[in-house]
Amino acid sequence: MYDVIGIWAGAFFTLAIYSFLYKENPIYRLAEHLVVGISLGYGIAVTYSNVLKPRLIDPVNSGGHWILVIPGLMGFLYITRFFPRISWLSRYPIALLMGTSMGVAFPLTMKAAVLRQLESAIIPLYREGMSWDVVLGSVIMLLGTLAALIYFFFSKPHKGPFFGFGSRIGIWVIMLGFGATFGFTVMGRISLLIGRVQFLLSDWLHLIK
């Protein structure tokens, strides 16, 4: 019974949102606001039960883990944000997380997004047994990356045989990439609609399996 009522509620809100396609209306606006409140409210409950309770409150209450009071107090400083006279104290936890996050991320980002990419950009363009489309692809991959990088390099005017020609090739490669993204975007948006139609036709109306 609980599930049935739930699915009817879900169907009601699904149709309420779709009514927006015809015209903006109060139910749509209500749903739009509800989603913000529920989402953050859910976040509070889950953060308490998943993190604060098992990792701070329970260990401290059971004794022996008093050291956890330090991150607890540090976190508490966020609250000072609402008291203008001492709001600068909220910068302390922000600074701690900001600085350390940046430091931790630096070498790993360097590896993941830069070094590995540079390393793999240069690959054997031809090996025995490679089909022509793979060879062509590999050439395009290498030269295309270089050309697209030239296109994004704005410190030099895009003129002359290297920067001029390179950036012109670069924009073509970028357009092919954006075209692929565009095709995938259409696909993704349709998939989201499919999900809702499946909910309505299957879970709610039981018209399809």
Partner: protein, 214 residues
């Protein structure tokens, strides 16, 4: 105290974490372990900022009776009701976080359908945009459109029926020219992130300090 100490914390914290990566000594490892253990606890409290600012914005709207102020109650009531229902309300009266409960009902049957449906509206708008805005106005725009059409057909089963070269060409575009473009962007973003990291660590970028208590 107000600006220098936070900047110092960022500098020391940033350098410390960078160094521990390159020098995996027992001491640096133990500092790192404390850090990864404590950081989620500290950042949990950041939620308070979200609650505070959302409450302020909507309470202000209600007080001022701004346009559509009534809907602000639809934000504030669940915002405070959800934690009460999930954590405090007695189970015998529909409390608790597991099904069946009001808390579970709210997220499973209200939140999820609304959010999923809102995103799915984009399917309709992208169809409308396809008709009204996607024009082959220039050679470059034509290449973009053609690549999109090939990829779109290549990704669905019907493309295979129309011609097996659709999926093949679609995959080829994805694996080579698309990869080249995305790698260039990835490198650009990667360098940008690294530069921003360093700027924040060394105090060049200070926007995060905000304007309070200068």
């Amino acid at each position: 105290m107000k600006r220098t100490v936070p900047l110092l914390i960022v500098l020391v914290g940033g350098i410390l974490m960078m160094v521990q990566y390159f020098i995996p000594h027992q001491v640096s490892q133990s500092i790192f372990n404390y850090y990864t253990d404590w950081a989620p606890i500290v950042s949990s409290f950041a939620l308070i900022l979200g609650i505070g600012s959302l409450t302020r914005v909507h309470a202000h709207k209600i007080r001022r009776k701004a346009d559509n102020w009534q809907y602000s109650w639809a934000v504030l009531i669940p915002l405070y009701l959800m934690p009460v229902l999930g954590l405090i309300w007695p189970k015998s009266m529909g409390g608790g976080m597991d099904a069946p409960s009001i808390f579970h009902f709210m997220y499973m049957y209200i939140q999820i359908p609304i959010q999923a449906t809102m995103f799915s509206l984009l399917a309709f708008y992208i169809a409308s945009a396809a008709f009204r805005a996607f024009r082959a106005k220039s050679a470059l725009a034509t290449v973009l459109l053609l690549a999109a059409v090939v990829v779109m057909l290549g990704q669905v089963p019907i493309g295979e029926l129309l011609g097996s070269w659709f999926p093949k060409l679609g995959l080829w575009i994805l694996r080579y020219p698309n990869l080249a473009a995305k790698r260039a962007i990835m490198l650009g973003v990667g360098f940008g992130m690294l530069a921003t990291n360093l700027k924040i660590i060394f105090g060049v970028e200070r926007n995060w300090l905000g304007g309070v208590g200068k």
